[in-house]
């Protein structure tokens, strides 16, 4: 190779000058072309960094949380969640320690509760949680929340009522039957058909249940105005009582009178619209003894009764109470709702059977953790705590 004058000869002499000659060719390269290369390299760096991060994240499994709710009595709160979101949940509140545990079912069992949990009933040490839009009932241990079994294959289940250790009923919104299952083995053993082929509406839906002697009374609220009477020895439908449109809740008092609260439907409803009302029915004769009517825009719901079964409570924007002997609806609310805006408000109501505390669920906008207020029997606020989305039902541990 020819020596280039003025260049130091080294081991890499050849290579050096080649590089230099190449550089001289590159000299006229424009700034834009350099920017080009830089841009392309940056791109590749971004891509490689991205590729590397792709597999570096993984979700770590969540540990099981163990609960012990034995001892002091407490209350399970069933949070509905949003329809088709699958985000319902179970909470537990200990009134003694004023401590709330949320997401109890999932924390203990590792799977979600399901879509739209409607209600919970406790029988012996078992809690039956009805998950309406998942078509099943989850059974848990009421002291530990551990999964014990499930009754699946249901259509749109609503409430459970246990008759004895071999028979239990579950009502349904769409199936036109009451399903019978064994609360010990969790097997479905039969059903009671309650279809009404004479109506153009899908009847009858069945909702809450009230036992009286060997009968079970159930209300039919969806485009309906009946209370059905079932003989729980024979599992046969024996009678039906016509009430005000859309009966949504019922209780039985100390005189064996069944109280039925109806919301009357809604403006433009194909089934009709009337003022909301409250009825008192004799459980023995099935006769209506007294009626009460609300105002045109009232929408009362969630009828409850105190442990001594002499005082009724219900929601109608505020919380109202009245003695079973009253001849008129109450004029002033028992607990006033602070809501004045277009949404929110008291969503659910329950009375603690052991100490008569009043629990009120507030769903706020139904898209976030709801609030539960706890008042004592004189109407004084004792506590409030955050639960799950749309806290709709309460199940008290009494044993």
């Amino acid at each position: 190779m020819k020596e280039i004058p003025g260049k130091r000869k080294t081991e890499n002499g050849k290579r050096q000058s080649e590089e230099e000659s190449r550089k001289s060719v590159l000299q006229p390269a424009t700034r834009n072309q350099e920017a080009w290369r830089l841009g392309l390299r940056l791109w590749c760096l971004v891509l490689s960094a991205w590729f590397l991060t792709l597999f570096s994240c993984s979700e770590s499994p969540v540990d099981t949380v163990y609960f012990d709710f034995s001892g002091d009595h407490g209350v399970f709160i069933v949070n509905e969640g949003n329809f088709m979101y699958g985000n319902s949940s179970l909470s537990f509140y200990n009134p003694g320690t004023k401590r709330v545990y949320n997401q109890v079912f999932q924390a203990r069992n590792g799977v979600p509760l399901g879509d739209v949990a409607q209600s919970m009933s406790i029988w012996k040490n078992l809690g039956f949680i009805v998950v309406n839009n998942s078509g099943k009932i989850y059974v848990v241990d009421s002291q530990t929340a551990e999964f014990k079994g499930s009754i699946s294959g249901l259509s749109s289940p609503r409430y459970v009522h246990v008759i004895d250790s071999e028979k239990s009923y579950v009502t349904d919104l769409f199936a036109r039957k009451v399903t019978i299952f064994n609360p010990t083995t969790f097997q479905v053993t039969g059903f009671i058909p309650v279809g009404n082929s004479n109506s153009e509406f899908s009847q009858h839906s069945t909702e809450q249940m009230i036992p009286y002697k060997n009968l079970v009374f159930t209300n039919c609220w969806s485009y309906d105005n009946k209370i059905l009477v079932i003989n729980s020895d024979t599992d046969q439908l024996v009678d039906s009582i016509e009430v005000f449109k859309q009966p949504n809740s019922m209780v039985i008092d100390r005189d064996n009178k069944i109280w039925v609260l109806s919301d009357g439907g809604f403006e433009g409803s194909p089934f009709g619209y009337e003022q909301a009302g409250l009825l008192k029915i004799d459980a023995e004769t099935h006769e209506i003894e007294r009626t009460f009517r609300f105002n045109k825009n009232d929408r009362p719901l969630n009828l409850c009764i105190n442990p001594t079964k002499d005082t009724l409570y219900f929601l109608n924007r505020h919380v109202w109470k009245m003695a079973v002997t009253e001849k008129h609806l109450p004029e002033k609310p028992f607990i006033t709702s602070k809501y004045t805006s277009l949404y929110g408000g008291f969503f659910s109501l329950a009375i603690d059977p052991t100490n008569r505390d009043v629990y009120i669920g507030d769903a706020i906008d139904h898209r976030q953790n709801g609030l539960v207020y706890r008042y004592n029997t004189s109407g004084k606020l004792i506590d409030s705590f955050k639960a799950g989305i749309s806290p709709g039902d309460f199940a008290f541990i009494t044993e």
């Binding site: 699958g86 998942s134 989305i389």
Partner: protein, 663 residues
């Protein structure tokens, strides 16, 4: 959780990684000719159009991208190549858009000038629009969307069809066979000459959609197969074009039907349900255009007919729970006059009248409503080239719907192109826009509110664009920041008086803001390798400003199901007749509660990347061209959820064969 197999994939990617590094350092200074096999469509005279688009924030998704996504729907196209977030319920399922953090009804879709949004719901199901049926697609962002119509608080999407006057006779057939018993077929026949074009497109898409997944929503958790998620779609598009001297006439008819089975959530264990949705769409548009040297007059008549039937029954009980039929008929009549009195000025007037007839009845629930609505919209638009560097656009719309008049819907745009750097630009847009309440919001029974006010918003955006072209390379990018304040946003909330049904009200005040970045690089390496890289990223925070009363924790929080971050990376390499493409969309975290709660159990939808890989080869047997491609979707077998408790498929495959004949 589903186990992810990573070992061989890691190796594969290391190889791709290395190749990319090599390319980045390649010495590449050769004068090149760009070789491409993309057929060029006729390009209209730029002068007038460019003036009309001056100072508007508009982007076009180019033909290369359309070609790439040929066998998919517009929802996948927008998801990959635009900042619009698409919320999809899964393969073949409903897909709605969120543009700059707004609601689905705030993204408007126009097909050849007619609006396709549902007058009842206000939104568009983008999964019912095959990419194969469109020839071009553009986006108008924020206030610039007032050019196409009002109500697009996020922006609007414009899709269209145009003739290829060079086509004498062409036939194209594409068949795709995919996992889960999926088969797609497309046939396109066109003939004509320089004055007349006739084109028919047919397609069908069927799938059992029975993918396997791990169900962790029930006890015991187990591997299972998706049930009742199959779908079947068919469509036809007929186009006729003719031109003579200064007149241009076109007629287009789009007919589409889809039958979809709707699967249940992972936690469902109830009585077997049959839940289906059937859609039938018919869109038609007839247009006559008259050009002179300085002006263009267009008269357009369109029809948009939609039928949706939603059905649910429990099989064992045999009882129908829901059987809802909705029908929407919309008729449009539009006159558009565009005039360039000088090369520095463009004036445009547009008057659009639409008549909607809607009815819905649920035969099981016995509920429904009917309504007719008449709408009139007038656009005044001025675009001025104020100086060699600055151009201005002033738009003003007036709208009349039912008996409501919205007199002034303005949009001001400013564009600055520095003379020294003419391939870059800065655009600013400020606008006030209104969105009419949908007919469901007003009249649905129960809960509709006939006293609803229109949603209204102020929006602004600022965009920097840059492009650089050379013989063998091409780079372009855009960075845009936006902010909108929308008031009277309509929400459905549980009734205040305690009724079990929900009601519509002008509840919310929403503040949406963010930025969008798009970057595109094209390069030829070593004369024969064409490399194409594209990326886009958008960040949009959308928060609720109303939170009354004080216990409401949703104030300032991100709206449900709208991710803050969304991105897409695309890379393609062409070598002679071979090509490899990688498409990787990213979806950020989405909250499912209005207070954005996050815990081990309170579900937040986690962010995820997907990787889709395609490899193919083109063959030429003149005059027929053939193309075979193998596609792998979700290459990394990512376990993710787009919708809470709905499973998504893992890795799956398809093979596509395409035949094209052109005389």
């Amino acid at each position: 959780m589903k186990p992810i197999k990573r070992t061989h994939i890691r190796l594969g990617f290391k190889i791709i990684l290395c190749s990319l590094f090599i390319w980045s350092f390649a010495d590449d200074l050769y004068a090149q000719k760009l070789t491409d096999t993309i057929s060029l469509h006729e390009v209209k005279i730029l002068g007038k159009r460019k003036m009309a688009e001056a100072a508007l924030h508009i982007t076009h998704i180019d033909t290369l991208e359309l070609k790439m996504m040929k066998t998919l729907t517009i929802s996948e196209l927008l998801s990959s190549y635009s900042p619009i977030f698409i919320k999809s319920y899964g393969r073949g399922s409903t897909a709605t858009a969120s543009f700059r953090g707004t609601a689905p009804s705030h993204t408007q879709l126009y097909w050849n000038g007619i609006k396709l949004n549902s007058p009842m719901r206000g939104d568009v199901d983008f999964s019912l629009l095959p990419v194969y049926f469109i020839d071009d697609i553009s986006l108008l962002y924020g206030g610039s969307s007032i050019k196409s119509g009002s109500g697009a608080l996020g922006g609007s999407v414009l899709i269209g069809n145009k003739p290829d006057w060079t086509d004498k006779l062409s036939i194209r057939y594409i068949q795709t066979v995919e996992s889960f018993s999926t088969k797609k077929e497309y046939l396109n026949v066109g003939f004509g000459n320089g004055r007349f074009q006739f084109k028919t497109r047919l397609f069908s898409d069927d799938s059992k959609n029975d993918f396997s997944y791990f169900n962790y929503g029930v006890l015991p958790m187990h591997q299972t197969v998706q049930k009742n998620a199959g779908y079947s779609k068919q469509g036809v598009l007929q186009e006729i074009y003719t031109r003579m001297k200064s007149h241009f006439f076109s007629a287009k008819l789009w007919a589409y039907q889809s039958h979809r089975n709707l699967p249940q959530l992972m936690s469902f264990e109830g009585d077997v349900r049959k839940e289906t949705q059937d859609d039938q769409n018919l869109y038609g548009v007839v247009s006559w255009k008259h050009h002179t040297q300085k002006s263009k007059l267009e008269w357009l008549v369109g029809v948009n007919l939609n039928d949706i039937n939603y059905f649910r029954s429990s099989t064992e009980a045999g009882f129908v729970n829901f059987d809802s039929r909705s029908r929407e008929h919309s008729y449009t009549n539009q006159i558009d006059f565009d005039w360039n009195p000088s090369e520095f000025l463009n004036l445009n007037w547009n008057i659009n009248s639409s008549y909607h007839q809607v009815s819905v009845l649920d035969r099981a629930q016995k509920l429904g409503y009917e309504h007719n609505r008449f709408e009139l919209s007038l656009l005044n638009s001025i675009s001025i080239q104020a100086s060699s560097e600055v151009s201005l656009s002033l738009l003003s719309r007036s709208e009349l719907y039912d008996n409501h008049l919205i007199g002034f819907i303005p949009s001001i745009g400013l564009e600055y192109i520095p003379e020294k750097w003419s391939s870059s630009s800065v655009k600013l847009n400020l606008a006030r826009n209104y969105h009419q309440p949908g007919l469901n919001d007003l009249y649905w029974l129960p809960g509709g509110n006939p006293d609803l006010k229109p949603e209204d918003g102020y929006t602004g955006d600022l965009t920097f664009g840059y492009s650089y072209k050379k013989e063998n390379s091409n780079i372009s990018g855009q960075l845009s920041g936006f902010a909108s304040l929308i008031e009277n946003w309509i929400v459905w909330q549980p009734s205040a008086n305690g009724a079990y049904y929900w009601e519509a009200s002008n509840m919310k005040k929403v503040f949406a803001r963010g930025l969008e970045i798009q970057l595109s690089v094209q390069k030829i390496i070593a004369k024969t390798i064409l490399v194409n890289l594209k990326g886009n990223y958008s960040h949009s925070a959308t928060s609720n400003l109303n939170a009354v009363p004080s216990v409401d924790e949703s104030r300032g929080k991100q709206l449900i199901y709208i991710p803050k971050d969304k991105a897409n990376i695309f890379a393609q390499g062409n070598f002679k007749a071979w090509y490899v493409k990688v498409n990787a969309p990213f979806t950020g975290k989405r909250y499912t509660s209005s207070n954005n709660v996050e815990s081990d159990y309170e579900k937040v939808l986690n962010p995820y990347w997907l990787i889709n890989l395609t490899a193919g080869k083109m063959f030429e047997f003149k005059p027929v061209r053939m193309d075979i491609a193998i596609n792998i979707e979700n290459l990394a077998n990512t376990d993710y959820m787009a919708i809470l408790w709905r499973p998504m498929p893992g890795r799956y495959y398809s093979i596509t064969i395409q035949f094209q004949y052109k005389k």
